[in-house]
């Protein structure tokens, strides 16, 4: 493998890792702050991709799809928090697992009714079409680069909000000590609702931006869910920085796994997870066991 091919694979791995981060950060926020495990996270990722397909096929505009998808995901997130998730705070994880499994069954069937089983594709937005030529045969698509930059921007926004804003302060305080935050008269419950909705938006965003790269198909949520779980396990629950490290590791392991061991590529990421579990059971940036 010469240097340029390696560089292209590296960029692919990083881009994949960044999209993974987008989805997994939503998952880890919901875990860390609400204490809720949401198996339907992957289903919302899939839903994002389908909404992108649906809106672009009607309007032809990817930007409308991006805006519309985010708006729909946000409203759906608020609604679900208000009706269902709110009742799950403090319930055992088993109840949360089953509730979100119920969501998956419903979402999958609704998708089946609305869009059927077919595989769809979404056109790349006009001005991001084309590739950057590297050599006579190698080139790198502009859209992939744009996705990487977009994910980086979102990551920066998440870090900024959590670290430097009042809402971020409440979120951090709530994750640290729920009762104390409430006792101090901070409207933590109102923030909860938005945290869940933002989590769903991040999942859907991942699905929207990936839609023009990969295809839109029924099982796409499942594989993303599992990979996000691996990312969160690697990074440590509730740690956004950990999710970033985990996602990049998985993105690279998966991409280079496909290059070096094509037959067993789907297993490389799990082997990585097994190794990290042996080394640090609570994740790379997780709290140490007392």
């Amino acid at each position: 493998m010469d240097f340029l091919t390696f560089a292209v694979q590296l960029l692919n791995g990083v881009q994949y890792g960044l999209v993974l981060f987008l989805v997994a950060s939503g998952l880890t926020l919901v875990f860390g702050i609400l204490g809720v495990i949401n198996l339907a996270h992957g289903a919302f990722y899939m839903l994002g991709a389908y909404v992108a397909y649906w809106i672009t096929s009607y309007t032809g505009s990817f930007w409308l799809a991006l805006l519309g998808g985010v708006a729909i995901a946000f409203v759906v997130g608020l609604l679900l928090e208000n009706v269902f998730i709110r009742r799950m705070y403090g319930r055992d994880h088993l109840a949360q697992v089953l509730l979100s499994f119920g969501f998956i069954l419903v979402i999958d069937e609704v998708r089946q009714i609305l869009f059927g089983k077919d595989v769809h594709s979404v056109a790349t937005p006009d001005f991001l079409r084309g590739s950057i030529p590297l050599t006579d045969v190698l080139s790198y698509p502009v859209y992939r680069l744009a996705v990487s930059l977009f994910c980086l921007a979102i990551a920066a926004a998440i870090f900024f909000v959590i670290r430097y804003t009042r809402i971020g302060m409440i979120v951090r305080a709530g994750a640290e000590n729920r009762e104390m935050t409430r006792a101090l008269g901070i409207r933590f419950d109102a923030v909860n609702r938005y945290v869940f909705a933002v989590g769903i938006v991040l999942a859907a965003l991942g699905g929207i931006v990936i839609a023009p790269i990969s295809t839109v198909y029924p099982g796409m949520g499942d594989s993303m869910l599992i990979l996000s779980f691996v990312v969160v396990v690697l990074g440590g629950i509730g740690s956004v920085a950990g999710a970033a490290i985990g996602a990049l590791l998985i993105g690279l392991a998966d991409t280079f796994g496909k290059v070096f061991f094509p037959t067993f590529s789907s297993i490389t990421v799990y082997l990585l997870m097994a190794l990290v579990l042996l080394w640090r059971p609570n994740g790379i940036l997780g709290k140490r066991e007392v």
């Binding site: 055992d92 089953l98 509730l99 069937e109 969160v232 590529s265 789907s266 059971p281």
Partner: protein, 347 residues
Amino acid sequence: MANPMKQKVLPLLLVALAAALPFLAPTYYVQFSTRVFLLGLLAMSLNLVVGFGGLVSMCHAAFFGLAGYALALASPQSGPASLWLTLPLAVGVAALAALAIGGLSLRTRGIYFIMVTLAFGEMLFFLFHDTQIAGGSDGAYIYFKPEVAIAGVPLIDLENPRTFYWVALGLLVVFVMLLKALTNSAFGHALVAARNNERRARSLGFPIFRIRLTAFVISGALAGIAGYFAAAQYGFVAPQLLGWHLSATILVMVVLGGMRTVTGPLIGAVVLLGLEEVLKALTEHWKLIEGLIVIAIVLVLPGGVQDLADRVFGSATRRVDEPRSRPEKPAVPPGEPAAATREVEHA
């Protein structure tokens, strides 16, 4: 509960009734009941770790499917495989997988454990889905049911659906007795003690990790027995047998039937699969309704069908701990259990 009629006579009556089914029902229902029994076996195996161990495993379908694949790979295309050889092989493979996955996953707690078991289960799914082992994503056929013979003399003919049904029923009885003995033993009590208060159990000197790992391996091996016979019954294995949708479905059975008893998950399997059968006859989109029912169970009936029975028939003894079954008004403030969980997670 100490009523001897209820404890001894009722189960015998139920088993006798079930044994008579093949004489009363058409073959379709005999085969359907066999399927229900086999998934009931799987749910009961899972409940050893979920209900008694307090460990929410999301990879039991992998043990189930792995044993099925072991049968498929060990069966020659030209004739039946011997049950005496293939069953121990299949169960051994499932137990080994449970040992490896359990050994790693049990280093974690709570939400982590759920995610890690799910991920390792999916690893096995992808192993069969993405490679060409036993037909890859298409799956593989098992042309002949395993042969049960001693010195060349066939004892049981599994090709006969009725016989297969009785074998499944027999397994059910064996599983219930085995799991009852296990959960009533010192080992079972230690497992429950670790579930109720890990820190206390640890300070009393119980080797928690070893106890849990043992339970996990036993449970995986039992899931393997269920998977072996399920694959034999379907005559077909596909990666979906190992997938996490099945793992989640049997968790629904466990919660639906009740986690605190050995036979609860069996009831859950009967109710859920019976419900699926009815829904499938009514609508093409039965999964939508099933999903809504699962959501409703979590919100309204956290104790499963036991709750429903209590509400309908109204039990006087129930009134004492009624608040437990009301999700809208938890007896403890919402924040508290989460904090308690966190404490355990990092303990």
